[in-house]
Amino acid sequence: MAFSNPEQTAKRIVLTVQDYSQFAWNAFLNLFRPPVYWTDFLLQADIIGVGSLPIVVLAGVSTGGVLALQSAATMANFGVTSVTGQFVALTIIRELGPVLTGIMVAGRNASSMASELGSMVVTEQIDAMRALGVDPTRKLVTPRIFASIFVVMFLTIMADAAGIFGGAGVTVFMNHHNGMQYFSMAYEHLGYPDIVQGLVKPLFFGYILSSIGCFYGLRTTGGTEGVGRSTIQAVVVSSVLIIFVDFMLTQLLLSLFPHAL
C-alpha cells in the first residue's frame, strides 16, 4: 500500500516531483528548439481541440445556467436581479471557464495521453523510436504540450461564450428577466484585467494537463495494469494541480490587477 512505509513513500514523492520538474523543464525548452514536428502539432490540436469542443461547450452552457439559477433567488432578496449578467460573466470568464475547461480537457486528454504513451512504453514502441534515432520527447511530448497550450485557450473562450449564453437562456426563459439587461450588464462590467485573467490561466492549465499526461505515460511500468495506473494518476494529479495552480494564479493576477477585485 502507498503508506505502508512512510519513509519510502516520502522519498518516492520527492523523486517524482524532481523527475517531473526535469521533464517539464526539458519539454518547455523543446518548444523553442528545432526540430518542431508541425504535422504532429496540428494532429494533436485537432484531437485535443476539436475533439473536446462538444464537452467543453456543454459544460459551459450548464455551468452558466446553474449560476444564473442559483444566484436568482439570493439576488431577488436584495432586489439586484439586474446584475445577474455581470455575476455570471465575471465568474465564468475569470474563474469557472478556465478551470472547468482545464479539468474537462484533463479528464479527456491527460488520460488519453497517459494511456497512449503508456501503451507505447509497454509495447517497446518508445524504445523503438529511440533506437531509430528519434527523441520521443520531441516527437511525442512537445507537440502535445504545444497543442494543449494553444487549444485550451481557445476552448476556454468557447466555454466562456457558452456559459454566458447558458446564463442568458436561464435568465430569459426560466427567470423571465430582460435579456438585453443581462448582456449589457455583462458587457459593461467586464474589464481587460478580467479577460487577461481568463486567458492567462488556460495557458498554464494546458501545459499542466499535457505535461502531466505525458509524464505519467512515459514512466509507465508493469504492463497493461501499469497503463491503467498511469491513466488514473495523470487525471487525478493534473486535475488537482489545475485547481491548486488556479488558486496561486488568482492570487498573483489579483495582486497585479488590484482594480479587478
Binding site: 509495447t123 517497446e124 524504445d127 529511440r130 533506437a131 531509430l132 527523441d135
Partner: protein, 280 residues
C-alpha cells in the same frame, strides 16, 4: 541499393575485420532496485561477426541488448559502440549513434498508428527523404522480407510473424552498421520461426553486418551456424557436414554473469555444468 551482393559485402567485411570492435563491454554491471541483473560483463563484437546470446528467460539478455544501443545505462563499467564510449554520452548525442544501428524488438514494436510504409520508412521520414525515394526503398525492404503487399496496411492487420518481418525490414532500411535482434522468433510457430531465421541468415550472408541475436531457442541458434543463404536457390541451405559459419559465435548468460563465449564447437564441448544442462 539496400542489399548489395554477397561477394561485395564480404570484401568490405574482410577489410573491416582489421578494424576496432564494433561493440566492446568492459566490466559492465546493471541492476534494478536492489536486484543485480548483469554483473561484470566483458565481451567484444568484431566487424562482420554474428554473436548469439543464449540464456534462460529473465536472465538479462534483452537488458544487455538495450545496453549496447544506449537505451539503458550501466551502473558500472564502460561500453564502446563504433569505437565511441557511450556510457556517459548525453541522450542527444546517442541518437546519432543509434541511427547507425538497427534493432528488432521482441514483439516487433511497430508503431500502431502508422501504416507499414510509414513504419518501415520512419527514419527516412525524419530525415526528410523524398516521397518517391522512400516508396522505392520501402518496397525494396518489404520485398526482402516477402511482404510487399502489406505496404498500405496497418500493423494491427498483420500476424505476429509478419510483424517481426516488418520490424526486420524497418531495421534494415537504413543500411545499419550493426543489427540487434531481441528474440526475433520468441512465441512464433516453428514454420514462421524458420522463415525469420532464414531472413537473418540471408541478411548476414548478403551484407555481413555485425549483429547480436538474443534467443533462448537452441534450434534457431544452431541453424544460424550450420546454414548459409544460397543466392541462386533463393533459400537457406545447410553447410557441408561438419562445417559451421566461422563468423557466428555464442555467448551464454547465467545468473547475471557471462559464463560462456566461443564458437559452436566450443559450446558443444563446454565443461560448464549449466551450459551442459541448457544444451540438453
Amino acid at each position: 541499393m539496400i542489399f548489395p551482393s554477397s561477394s561485395d559485402a564480404h570484401e568490405n567485411n574482410v577489410q573491416a575485420n582489421a578494424a576496432a570492435p564494433v561493440v566492446a563491454f568492459r566490466d559492465v554491471s546493471i541492476g534494478f532496485g536492489a536486484k543485480a541483473v548483469l554483473e561484470e560483463i566483458n565481451f567484444t563484437l568484431a566487424p562482420g561477426e554474428t554473436r548469439i546470446l543464449l540464456g534462460p528467460a529473465g536472465v538479462g539478455k534483452s537488458v544487455l541488448l538495450k545496453l549496447v544501443d544506449g537505451l539503458l545505462r550501466p551502473d558500472e563499467g564502460t561500453i564502446d559502440l563504433f569505437g565511441e564510449e557511450i556510457t556517459r554520452l548525453p541522450e542527444q548525442a546517442l541518437f546519432a549513434l543509434r541511427a547507425r544501428t538497427g534493432m528488432v524488438f521482441q514483439e516487433g514494436a511497430l508503431f500502431d498508428s502508422l501504416t507499414i510504409r510509414d513504419n518501415v520508412a520512419f527514419q527516412l521520414i525524419q530525415e526528410k527523404v523524398g516521397d518517391e525515394e522512400i516508396d522505392a526503398r520501402v518496397r525494396e525492404a518489404l520485398r526482402f522480407v516477402d511482404l510487399e503487399k502489406t505496404f498500405s496496411l496497418f500493423p494491427s492487420s498483420l500476424s505476429g510473424g509478419m510483424r517481426r518481418r516488418v520490424a526486420i525490414a524497418r531495421a534494415f532500411i537504413h543500411q545499419p552498421e550493426l543489427i540487434l535482434y531481441d528474440s526475433p522468433t520468441g512465441g512464433l510457430d516453428p514454420v514462421t520461426s524458420t522463415q525469420i531465421i532464414e531472413l537473418i541468415v540471408k541478411a548476414r550472408d548478403a551484407r555481413h553486418t555485425p549483429s547480436i541475436l538474443v534467443t533462448h531457442r537452441l534450434q534457431d541458434a544452431f541453424t544460424l551456424s550450420t546454414h548459409r543463404y544460397d543466392d541462386e536457390q533463393q533459400r537457406m541451405v545447410p553447410l557441408p557436414e561438419g562445417e559451421t559459419d566461422p563468423d557466428t559465435t555464442y555467448m551464454m548468460l547465467h545468473e547475471g554473469r557471462l559464463i560462456f563465449s566461443g564458437s559452436l564447437r566450443e559450446l558443444l564441448h563446454s565443461d560448464d555444468a549449466f551450459v551442459r544442462e541448457f544444451l540438453k
